[in-house]
Amino acid sequence: MAEAQARVPGPIRVWDLPVRLFHWLIVGLFAFSWWSGENHDMDWHRWSGYAVLALLVFRLYWGFAGTSTARFAAFVRGPGAALTYARSLAQRPYVAKVGHNPIGGWSVMLMLAALVVQVAAGLFAVDVDGIESGPLSDYVSFETGRAAAKLHHLVFNIALAVVAVHIAAIMVYRFWLKTDLITPMITGKRQSASLPPDAAAAAVGLGLSWRALVGVAAAAAVAYAISVGFRF
């Protein structure tokens, strides 16, 4: 019985829909925030930031309530696991994982952390003219607001560096390990031939449960409350 189940031919879903939507919306909004920030188009920059904020709230919640590959508990692993995995990279052919590998998991947490700090700093930031400011800036002094703005600049450069490493890693998988990570992040699915024999058992659903609805509602509510600085 288990034998028959072992190699189900065809594609297996490895990423649920919320994870994929989160990912590509973040890519778009990250670029848009960059562009609008550079052009001092602050109205758009603020809206983009609130959208990123809502997405982050959702993703942090989904890290506990999502499907198995979305959960932090499944992919945040210790240095030992990362080391073992790094050694396994020498084997050919490379066998892909369902979900994040032990090193990729850390890069995900790093990107999320960078974005959380980026957004948080923006909420308190005050520009040098004292005219453009985040929705929570009136809770802090001018000096603190200016420091937040400087942090916002600094962390952006860190985020860019982390994203560059992220994209470089995906290229290494693509061309060196002959493993396509991009298509699964779009379609959600990977051919079972490139996965371990027991992969089918780890396949995930589409993720569109009442839990996702709760997450969307919570994310929208939190982002709205912060965007008006808790002045209702």
Partner: protein, 158 residues
């Protein structure tokens, strides 16, 4: 006769000597003081701008607070024009975000400073009247003059 002349020369000699010593130092005290003073004035203006925008965010903005802040901006704006004498740029050895373009394009810089004085004077008038919508519009106009000058004449801090 000769004794008297040497006495009149003496003060000039002392003056020339001090001037030479001053020019030798990395940054004359007067330059350091001028840069520090203008930065302090700008900071007061920035704080006052924040008071105005904070007040406008609240459901019940305080007219006296906004009027006071507008006066801080307008009075400091009038001082700032004189705070950029030659030799107080980045070459002075003192930390400053002032860009060399200030002194190569002085007429435009001065014009921008006059715009700040004009708009902040209007800001005082509208905050005295106290209409929040009018204050918001004039705050934007005033902030626009800050930004227009900063983009061209102030080094971006990262």
């Amino acid at each position: 006769m000769t004794a008297k002349r040497s006495f009149t020369i003496l003060p000039f000699a002392v003056l020339a000597l001090t001037a030479a010593t001053l020019a030798d130092a990395a940054a004359p005290p007067s330059v350091t003081a001028t840069i520090a003073a203008r930065q302090a004035n700008f900071k007061k203006m920035g704080k006052a701008m924040k008071i105005l925008s904070d007040q406008l965010k609240s459901s019940a903005p305080s007219q006296p607070a906004m009027y006071g802040a507008a006066q801080v901006i307008a009075s400091n704006a009038r001082r700032q024009g004189r705070m950029f004498p030659l030799g107080t740029g980045p070459g002075s050895g003192v930390e400053t975000e002032a860009l060399p373009a200030i002194w190569t394009d002085k007429a435009d810089f001065d014009a921008k400073m006059r715009q700040l004085v004009n708009e902040s004077t209007k800001l005082v008038a509208v905050t005295k009247a106290g209409n929040a919508a009018a204050i918001g519009a004039q705050l934007k106009a005033t902030g626009g003059t800050c930004g227009a000058c900063h983009r061209k004449y102030r080094a971006e801090d990262e």
